[in-house]
Symmetry: C2
Subunit: 159 residues, 2 copies
DNA sequence: TATTGTTATACTCTATAACTATA
DNA sequence: TATAGTTATAGAGTATAACAATA
């Protein structure tokens, strides 16, 4: 209980974003119980929902994970009835993964829940406040993108 | 490539927060390479840094994970020299986990990096904009906390 | 009896490497 | 020779259940 050394500083924008992100993750995990879904599996279904039938190769590229990982994720969503493997019409090496009706309905429901949550989160704010909030977040995202790009490419210090 | 059904709607505050959270996670993962650390292990060290020497039981409560999980995390941070198990002075069932010098120095460095990032993320904003951003995020966090509490306790619809 | 931490077991997400079938 | 997807193997994070030592 006793804080040994670090003073509990004022929460910053970074702290708030981290806290909100953690709450969102927690909430998602809870909503997945008994669905056979998870963050990774849902991400895969989400990509399928937007891109339509896809090869596992293209899914691996979209999710930025290994081919082996996609095999496991497709196994899982197929087993739970959200997607199915079908033959590729022209390339017999490849597999096309397609959403089932259940998968499609599930993604549509998630999209509408996402929209509703998007509205609820800012419902109590004045329009101009919501505006500044949005612009502030856009700014933060831009700075972060720049910092990450610099860290990944430490050579040049932008002039 | 072809968006099959969902129109690419305008990004919302929720979308921005999710994107920023993902970037932060990605950046953290990158910074962990070759340190023997990870999000979970760092979280444990962070709690130790603030709470001081702790039993594994209290760490399990603080991180909200199982006792078994703590055994593994402590094994790992001990193996990498960030913390050590010591005997509890009065309860011979319990183990006290304490940070080593390396662990303490690492947490201090992370704290200062966190503070620097906190400053950088809002550095380009006008003071009043940063203010509204902060208040907007506090609002969002509050709404989210309420929604999660309601979802966990669906009985009463708040009057 | 209750609590602390461990071992046993299992599931998910992730990776690399070797291999098969096809291009 | 290169590519798509699988199997083999491994490590991390997570869980529950059974168990030993201690309270």
């Amino acid at each position: 209980m006793s804080d040994s050394q670090t003073a509990p500083h004022q929460p910053t924008v970074l702290d708030r974003v981290l806290a909100i992100g953690q709450m969102l993750q927690h909430d998602m995990d809870r909503s997945f119980s008994d669905t056979g879904l998870s963050t990774s599996r849902t991400h895969l279904l989400w990509v399928l929902h937007h891109a339509g039938p896809s090869t596992q190769r293209s899914l691996a590229t979209a999710l930025q994970v290994s081919a082996r990982n996609i095999t496991g994720l497709v196994d899982a969503v197929e087993h739970h009835g959200y997607a199915a493997r079908t033959a590729h019409p022209t390339d017999r090496r490849a597999t096309l993964v397609t959403l089932t009706d259940l998968g499609r309905r599930t993604m549509q429901r998630m999209a509408s829940e996402h929209e509703q949550l998007s509205r609820e989160l800012v419902a109590g704010l004045a329009p101009d406040e919501a505006d500044v909030l949005m612009r502030g977040l856009t700014h933060v995202e831009g700075v972060l993108a720049r910092l990450i790009a610099e860290a990944a490419n430490p050579a040049e210090v932008r002039s």
